[in-house]
Symmetry: none
Subunit: 265 residues, 2 copies
């Protein structure tokens, strides 16, 4: 079975509709490429009830990987560490390694450790800190049952650097070994409802293929659709061969239906 | 208690990290302005298990409003209607009103009703269709216990038109009594692309504020834009104060960017 992943994007600004959740999308693509199946991306307010509820739900379902972003900073509403501790039933504890990371960051800037800054080193008792090469707040790594919980900051630059430098390596133990290839086909001149039975037909022929149509609106009164084709599998040659065959098949059917097509790889 | 809302964004492309969930953010702001508390925005795959699970969870918790986007079209993977039926324990049924809406759309284009197109009129037995003034797939409105479930298409233009023309009116019964104040600002001499980051900045500073720019074409070669500003809240004085502050803020930034402005209340 493919290991599942949930992404939790924590922050009032997300559920108030003030900012778009680009962190969730970035992580979803990274996890998908690694072979995980992202089952949910959940934007949540900085609320104990909401975050603990979703974390507990993930633990109950044994979701293999849960990655959160947001709520790790020094301010009063940064409470993700506390929420994780609550969800796994652990005390918060000053983590020596995390404290060293935080102290080093501030000392290098000639700044003192304050109460607010020390707060960033308070982790659930069995958690490990993840270094933050860009900002100050360390990430959090903790395992409970079948579930690996990883908390990263909400600042995209920090989150991305930490994921690529540390988290990807950590996740390799949980990820399956898979091969993936994909292609995009631009389709013009036929409506989505004409496309539907063509996709159905091709999908019935190939079991390990994913096809999704993205309507791009109309240009000069002609429908424009982008077709995404994804093939995954455990054998590289087979996956490449399948993609070629699927794309050829689709193009043939589309042209017969009167579409104008162009490819993009 | 403030009525709660969950937003469900359905589509494999979201959890595969192929597209950012802008629909969720747009709806979150709209619902916030109406006085709802958005507790979750959940991106989900086109998967029966996942969608039914989250819908059932919302029903169990008595969440007042659940709005979904995506999965209403004619293709094989558009199954939101089926998922809702399952979650509320109803049969799918060909809805006469929905069928009329769909037929009308295709007839006006000289197209026949096919099996795939008829599928868009299959609704849960007690559901009502919501007209789609832009595309072909009707929305779905159904109530169960304390929860109002509203399903809209994933194409942003369609979703937004349906929300503004029909859903807002429907939701007024569930929304708390809120205060609304609005203002118009005429902006001259700067293009919309210069305006965009200024609006973004102000929006990030004020959560219960909605700003919409209406380009009014060019006069004597100079761009003219009308800015609509809406502020909502639970306290009359506070709302008025916020509007003043937002308008002042906007004017300051606009003048700094080289715009000529005039107000209208």
């Amino acid at each position: 079975m493919v290991p599942r992943a949930w992404i939790l994007s924590i922050g009032n600004e997300l559920v108030l509709g003030q900012i778009v959740n680009t962190n969730g999308t970035w992580l979803a693509r990274k996890l998908t490429l690694m072979g995980f199946e992202v089952k949910r991306i959940v934007s949540l307010p900085d609320s104990e009830q909401e975050v603990v509820e979703v974390l507990s739900d993930a633990l109950r379902k044994g979701i293999e990987v849960v990655i959160s972003t947001g709520g790790l900073g020094p301010t009063y509403d940064d409470r993700t560490s506390e929420f994780i501790a609550k969800a796994i039933g652990e005390e918060l504890k000053l983590n020596d390694e995390a404290l060293r990371m935080v102290e080093e960051k501030y000392r290098s800037k000639g700044l003192e450790i304050t109460e607010h800054r020390r707060k960033m080193a308070l982790l659930p008792r069995t958690a490990k800190p993840i270094p933050n090469p860009v900002g100050t707040a360390p990430g959090i790594l903790v395992e409970r049952g079948n579930t690996l919980i990883i908390a990263l900051p909400g600042v995209p630059r920090e989150m991305q650097a930490m994921f690529e430098e540390y988290v990807e390596e950590i996740l390799k133990n949980k990820a399956p070994r898979i091969e993936r290839v994909e292609a995009w086909i631009h389709v013009e001149d036929i409506p989505e409802s004409t496309l539907a039975p063509i996709i159905d037909k091709v999908l019935r022929r190939y079991p390990r293929v994913y096809i999704k149509s993205h309507p791009k609106g109309e240009e000069l009164g002609k429908p424009m659709i982008k077709l995404y084709v994804l093939v995954t599998g455990f054998n590289k040659d087979e996956v490449a061969k399948t993609l070629n065959s699927v794309v050829e098949n689709l193009e043939e059917e589309l042209i017969r239906a009167g579409a104008k097509i162009s490819k993009e790889n």
